[in-house]
């Protein structure tokens, strides 16, 4: 293989940190969900890269990646339903204004 494993891992680390920044700094709840999707993608790159370079004979890494897909799909469906329900009740998607429990 011509591309070293480290390159893929650093790419995944970069993607994860960009997603983390999005989660920490976005005000829109949907923007936060997009950051979470970026982080999950970074995790999946790591899983597939480790499968290819450390144990290519067994498909364990790919199976893990498929389960991450399933969990990500479930997470985004419930998350967006929550955002829309909050929007309907509170008329906002800005997370700083969703502070019912703080009052």
């Amino acid at each position: 293989m011509t591309i070293p494993l480290n390159w893929f891992l650093v790419l995944a680390a970069g993607l994860f940190c960009i997603g983390l920044f999005g989660v920490l700094s976005r005000r829109n709840a949907i923007g936060i969900l997009m950051g979470i999707e970026l982080m999950l993608n970074a995790v999946n790159i790591n899983l597939v890269a480790f499968w290819r370079y450390l144990d290519p004979a067994n498909l364990t890494g790919q199976v893990f990646a498929i389960f991450v897909f399933a969990v990500a799909a479930a997470e985004v469906a419930v998350g967006l339903a929550l955002v829309i329900a909050i929007y309907r009740n509170r008329d906002t998607v800005v997370v700083e204004e969703i502070d019912l429990l703080k009052q």
């Binding site: 293989m1 011509t2 591309i3 480290n6 390159w7 893929f8 891992l9 680390a13 970069g14 993607l15 940190c17 960009i18 997603g19 983390l20 920044f21 999005g22 920490l24 700094s25 976005r26 005000r27 829109n28 949907i30 923007g31 969900l33 997009m34 999707e37 970026l38 993608n41 999946n44 790159i45 597939v48 499968w51 290819r52 370079y53 450390l54 144990d55 290519p56 004979a57 498909l59 790919q62 199976v63 990646a65 498929i66 389960f67 897909f69 399933a70 969990v71 990500a72 799909a73 997470e75 985004v76 469906a77 419930v78 967006l80 955002v83 829309i84 329900a85 929007y87 309907r88 998607v93």
Partner: protein, 169 residues
């Protein structure tokens, strides 16, 4: 062999650039479009890792379902998130510092860990091998994933359900 390195550099630049656009763009709808570009870039990374099935599933699930769902949600809540509104909160500077610090730590770990890399080739027919693994070794997680998806389906309908929309009896 220079070509794989060049392809990798191109794909990772596109992916990371699109990801940065996702988290910094003022217009949340444009962020969603850049998110699609990021997902396609990640699919290309899977192709480079010789995992074609994962790449196809990435395009189907992320681009075909998750990105469309996100765009739907943005359009349903669009009125309040116009371009003039501030999109980042007051703690974005510490967020940048924290994310960069985490990246430095992760890159340092990656380069000092000494991974036990094995030369080897993937199975000749990885997709049928994957199907057999899912229905034998990983049968229980597979079934649990289906229950999780059903629960998420019911939960999403229940949470998103509007009270006034109940049928008259």
């Amino acid at each position: 062999m220079l070509l794989p390195a060049l392809v990798f550099a191109f794909v990772s630049l596109v992916t990371l650039g699109a990801a940065i656009a996702v988290v910094t763009n003022k217009n949340i709808l444009h962020s969603a479009y850049y998110l699609i570009l990021t997902f396609v870039g990640v699919a290309a990374v899977y192709v480079m890792l010789q995992a074609p099935f994962i790449a196809v599933v990435q395009v189907l699930v992320y681009v075909g379902a998750i990105a469309i769902l996100i765009i739907f949600a943005i359009m349903l809540t669009r009125r309040l998130m116009s371009k003039e509104m501030e999109q980042h909160n007051a703690q974005w500077v510490p967020s940048v510092v924290g994310a960069l610090a985490l990246f430095v730590v992760l890159a340092w770990i990656v380069y000092t860990a000494g991974w036990p890399v094995q030369e080897g080739t993937p199975p000749l027919d990885p997709i049928s091998q994957l199907g057999q693994d899912l229905l034998t070794t990983y049968l229980v997680p597979f079934e649990i994933a289906s229950v999780l998806l059903l629960a998420a389906l019911v939960g999403a309908i229940l949470i998103g359900h509007e009270k006034g929309m109940r049928r008259e009896e």
